[in-house]
């Protein structure tokens, strides 16, 4: 990446970021393909694997102003063992919290395979002063977060100040140190698939380890078409530069059915190599219960009752 920047090409033009080409998006074709992938039927023999994968790639999330240490501890207990009655259920990939609660999650998850992810950098708007955003990222990493979710500066991006948006992600990556950096594009605010693709490229070139759809804090959330658009950007990036970037889908993912539709989209676009926690994540709070319900349906053969699963 650095060589691309070093040769002195403009950091961005309408169709390139730091020399990486950005092809326009065929919006109609994109939506049709995404819709077609979502009609793929999953046979019950594959369902079990799809449900387990959905759990293994899940970032179990709580991002509420009312979050307490006890609530985060309870969430961490579920992350380690999602179904107390069935030990064959794998742990989730990570728990995602606000920075102040990251130390609580680190304690609660010690000794487990579950990572701690913290949002930072003025989440969810990303419009705090840059110094305080960077300080927040460094604080979260120092507190033990192995993964940091920041937001793209949409204000700069949408004003055409691509260089500023890019530089801020570069600075955030430095502040992260060895921690993984996920950059949230908030696709619902970008307006067009071309913009989503441009933002994806910009974030990836700037050093994001993952690009992520949404904060979950605005009405518009992850859709199959935006997921496909970003997956195609990741595929372009890999083809043009060889750099491997992960995809995190978040916001509005509540049902097991959505989860396996997204698995089909990612698997078909990026290959099965992307269907691992290192390259693919589902950020969700209420998805886990539905996945457990469907898993119990496969096990017992009968439709389950939501009240029999935990409240959060």
């Amino acid at each position: 990446m650095s060589d691309l920047l070093a040769v002195g090409v403009p950091a961005h033009t309408a169709d390139a970021v730091a020399g990486v080409r950005i092809t326009p998006v065929d919006a109609v074709g994109l939506e049709q393909r995404a819709a077609a992938l979502c009609t793929r039927s999953i046979k019950s023999s594959s369902k079990q694997a799809a449900l387990d994968l959905a759990i293994r790639v899940m970032d179990l999330t709580t991002l509420e102003g009312a979050d307490t240490a006890a609530r985060v501890q309870a969430l961490c207990a579920r992350a380690r063992r999602p179904d107390a009655g069935d030990w064959s259920v794998p742990p989730v990939a990570a728990v995602c919290v606000y920075p102040e609660l990251a130390p609580v999650a680190v304690d609660a998850l010690a000794g487990s395979s579950v990572a701690v992810a913290s949002v930072a950098g003025g989440f969810p708007a990303g419009l705090a002063p840059l110094e305080s955003r960077l300080a927040e990222i460094a604080w979260a990493v120092a507190a033990g977060a192995g993964e940091v979710d920041i937001v793209l500066n949409r204000s700069a991006f949408l004003s055409g100040r691509y260089q500023q948006a890019y530089d801020e992600i570069v600075a955030a990556k430095q502040a992260c140190g060895s921690a993984h950096l996920k950059v949230i594009l908030e696709t619902g605010e970008l307006g067009a698939y071309d913009q989503i693709r441009r933002a994806s490229m910009l974030a990836m070139v700037a050093g994001a380890d993952f690009i992520k759809t949404s904060t979950g804090k605005i009405g518009a959330s992850s859709t199959p078409a935006t997921a496909l658009c970003m997956a195609e950007a990741i595929r372009d990036m890999a083809e043009q530069t060889g750099r491997v970037v992960g995809l995190k889908l978040a916001g509005g993912i509540r049902t097991a059915k959505q989860a396996w539709h997204y698995q089909v989209i990612v698997g078909e676009t990026l290959g099965l190599g992307w269907l691992t926690p290192e390259r693919f994540r589902l950020g969700a709070s209420s998805l886990l219960n539905d996945v457990l319900m469907q898993r119990a349906k496969l096990r017992d053969g009968r439709y389950q009752r939501r009240e029999d699963f935990s409240v959060d």
């Binding site: 053969g301 009968r302 439709y303 009752r305 939501r306 029999d308």
Partner: protein, 291 residues
């Protein structure tokens, strides 16, 4: 003038307040007494049952949260809307199944409308009659209150198509339950028309869900569903009843069936506050009275 083309109604299922085809895309022919084709009805699948139960579940809190008086008003409204479509109902009843003459069909329709009115009146009274203050040996108020069980699955009797369905449905929803109804397999058309009146009567979306199709296919997933709290198997044959009762027991679902007296659909005995009670759970509260 050219001859007008026929505009035939598509008889769809009623799930979550919307008229929908089956998830499976299937339909089946519904024939009249003379074997003539009346229409194609939706042939529902177990996934339609699942969706209907989910709709009923999410509607239940809001429906039970309405005041008893308001539920009574809404049930009365169903009768009002049915009244304005009496002839349409009577024509559908006359053609369905083994068929009957027009006066018998009109009588059945009138009885079905009156049944809504009868249960509408009970809405704000049954709790007083079925519950109350119990005398206890201590300084306590001891109060018993009937509360709705939750989601009720109703396998409607096959014949006739309308009055038995209303007779089983009205006492279920009047107390605040929501229902998933498997309509008559032979004559489902009147049930779909009933759904159209429910949709116009301020009955909340999801309170009544009507599935049409094959009993043998639809009863097992309904009886087996853990989110169904009570099951009315009045329309099942003996084999279906036995299987449904066994499946229901696995998730502690209460099973109810119409008695022989209740099956005299037009008679007084087919309507009773105890039918409301059959789909209620009694909650008893002890409260210190003081001296």
């Amino acid at each position: 003038m050219t001859e007008r083309l026929a505009v035939n109604k598509t008889y769809k299922q009623f799930i979550g307040g919307a008229f929908e085809r089956s998830e499976s895309g299937r339909s089946y022919p519904v024939v009249g007494a003379g074997g003539e084709l009346l229409a194609h009805a939706v042939q529902g699948s177990r996934k339609d049952v699942r969706d209907a139960v989910a709709a009923a579940r999410s509607a239940q809190g809001g429906w039970a949260g309405r005041t008893a008086y308001n539920r009574g008003q809404i049930l009365y409204r169903v009768a009002e809307v049915m009244e304005s479509r009496r002839d349409e109902f009577a024509a559908e009843v006359a053609r369905a199944g083994d068929g009957c003459d027009h006066s018998a069909a009109a009588a059945e329709t009138a009885a079905a409308i009156d049944r809504w009115v009868w249960y509408a009146g009970w809405a704000d009274k049954f709790a007083t009659v079925l519950g109350g203050v119990n005398p206890v040996a201590g300084p306590y108020f001891n109060l018993s209150v009937p509360e709705p069980v939750g989601v009720v699955g109703i396998v409607a009797p096959d014949e006739p198509p309308l009055l038995p369905l209303v007779s089983r449905l009205a006492p279920v929803i009047v107390s605040g339950n929501t229902a998933v109804v498997l309509a008559s397999e032979r004559g489902p058309l009147a049930a779909v028309t009933l759904a159209e009146t429910l949709a116009l009567s301020d009955v909340l979306a999801g309170v009544v869900n009507i599935i049409t199709g094959r009993r043998d296919e639809l009863v097992p997933p309904l009886a087996d569903h853990a989110a169904v709290d009570s099951l009315d198997i009045s329309g099942c044959d003996s084999q279906q009843s036995a299987n449904a009762a066994r499946q229901a027991a696995a998730t502690i679902t209460r099973v109810v069936s119409a008695s022989a007296a209740e099956q005299q659909w037009a008679a007084e005995a087919a309507q009773s506050p105890y039918l409301i009670d059959a789909f209620c759970e009694t909650k008893t509260v002890w409260h210190p009275k003081g001296r």
